[in-house]
């Protein structure tokens, strides 16, 4: 059914449709509306969820972990410093193999304190063992959230999943959206049936015991395997989702990449701006393309490298700096994927849009112009660049 909703409201609606057992959350801009809308669904009897209004994000994730370990399907939402305060528990959730679902509404990390959008929060959590999905629009935030539940709870995965989308740009802007019928969403995600859970009286277990050197490494290796398995499951779930909705999802979206000579790799809402620029360049006969990463963890190494192997120059845009003096996190992941698989393709890094700095089509045009000049001159020039900062 057709609706018009903000990204936050769309995710809250997805949560209502799923009717999880437990939601534990603490408000923080710009994700506050997710639990706020959801709390109204609880109050109005639209769901039977146990809503736990905790006193911090550390507690929110802790409550989610306890509930999920008990056998409950559990969800939460947060942003920025809230995600940072969950840090310790993010690792507990993933290493304990508890498929909590988190709406991660991207906002800059302090400091200086800033409430606007960039990706420094979830980029920092990229190696916490969570699956990370990124979405360009309200529709994708909603669709990814529903798929996240099914991906994380798959028996070969059992990992928590972040549904990442841009604060304010996606979370607060109201867009048209195609909602799935409640009963179809419920049927799609099904019942949460973990093999092991604390509330199972017939098969009691202990969760989170001390793991000494004799066993810890094997547990981490098994956890890593789950992340490796996730790529296939994500695609299987996407195929099932497409059969239900007609909306197609992959590991990343290729936009006009068939014959592209220059390309940009980007995440989330900026992809919309960049597609507009690609269309304009195409009208002028420029073979420009775009890759929008949807699945950032697990990272689609072979697929990204294959997609970029045909271009002459690529710019990887990061809405977070790594402060590694070598390029943004997406840049280092993409270029490491290209090593030995897409040799000879010139790759440059652009850090852009930090702290909600507006990203205009004219900014993106500058990047494509730079790529074209690299192709023409053969000289890559500066690899580590900033876009939109006042020089």
């Amino acid at each position: 059914m057709r609706e018009r909703l903000s990204g936050n409201e769309a995710v809250a609606v997805a949560m209502r449709q799923i009717n999880p057992d437990v939601v534990a959350a603490f408000p923080i801009t710009p994700s506050t509306e997710v639990p706020q809308y959801f709390a109204s669904f609880v109050a109005n009897g639209k769901v039977t969820t146990e809503f736990v209004p905790v006193e911090s994000e550390h507690s929110a994730m802790s409550a989610c972990i306890g509930a999920q370990a008990a056998g409950a399907r559990t969800m939460t939402a947060t942003s920025s410093a809230g995600l940072a305060l969950m840090w310790e528990m993010l690792y507990i959730a993933s290493s304990s193999r508890l498929p909590v679902t988190l709406a991660a509404v991207n906002r800059a990390l302090s400091g200086p304190i800033n409430i606007n959008n960039d990706h420094s929060d979830t980029m920092g959590a990229r190696d916490s063992g969570w699956i990370q999905l990124y979405g360009e629009t309200n529709q994708e935030a909603y669709d990814n959230f529903i798929q996240a539940v099914k991906i994380g709870e798959h028996k070969d995965i059992m990992l928590p999943v972040m549904d990442c989308f841009d604060g304010f740009i996606t979370s607060h802007a109201v867009e048209n959206i195609e909602l799935i019928d409640d009963d179809k969403v419920k049927a799609f995600v099904g019942e949460y049936k973990p093999e092991f859970y604390l509330n199972n009286k017939k098969h009691p277990i202990a969760v989170g015991p001390l793991d000494l050197p004799i066993h810890y490494f094997e547990h981490k290796r098994l956890q890593a395997e789950a992340m490796r398995n996730a790529k296939k499951v994500i695609l299987d779930v996407a195929a099932e989702f497409e059969a239900m909705t007609g909306r197609k999802y992959g590991l990343f979206e290729e936009y006009k990449m068939e014959d592209a000579e220059v390309a940009i790799v980007v995440l989330n809402s900026t992809a919309g701006t960049a597609k507009f620029v690609v269309d304009g360049l195409r009208e002028r006969g420029v073979k420009a393309g775009l890759i929008k990463i949807r699945v950032y963890r697990p990272f689609p190494v072979e697929e990204i490298a294959a997609a970029l192997s045909k271009v002459k120059a690529v710019a990887i845009l990061d809405k977070a700096d790594s402060f590694n003096a070598a390029g943004g996190p997406v840049f280092t992941d993409v270029t490491s994927a290209m090593y030995g698989r897409a040799d000879g393709v010139k790759a440059i890094s652009y850090i852009y849009g930090l702290g909600g700095r507006d990203v205009k089509s004219t900014d993106i045009e500058l990047v494509y112009e730079r790529l074209l000049s690299i192709v023409e001159s053969g000289d890559i020039g500066e690899i580590y660049n900033y876009l939109g900062v006042r020089e």
Partner: protein
Amino acid sequence: MSKIIPNDVKWRDISPGGIITDAGNSAEFKTGDWRSERPVWLTDKCKQCLLCYPTCPDTSIVIDEEGKRQDFDYDHCKGCGVCKQVCPFGAIEMKPEGGNN
């Protein structure tokens, strides 16, 4: 899945998330070799008052079916010495482990 995770388990066979799939298996974990001092039960001084028994954090003071204490469970006693402290009759002595003692 086996009750006890063996020390030579391979990663594909280990429990997901470090869970322990059966409760009540702590007796399988021998902690006796943590001891630096060993409690020695002096039966001639012991009055069987049983003040020592509830203080043991490792239930390493064995009580028989008639309610009498027996010798220590040295597989699990960590040698903390709490039992010696509470004994009113000096019926427990701590002696260094190892060497010629």
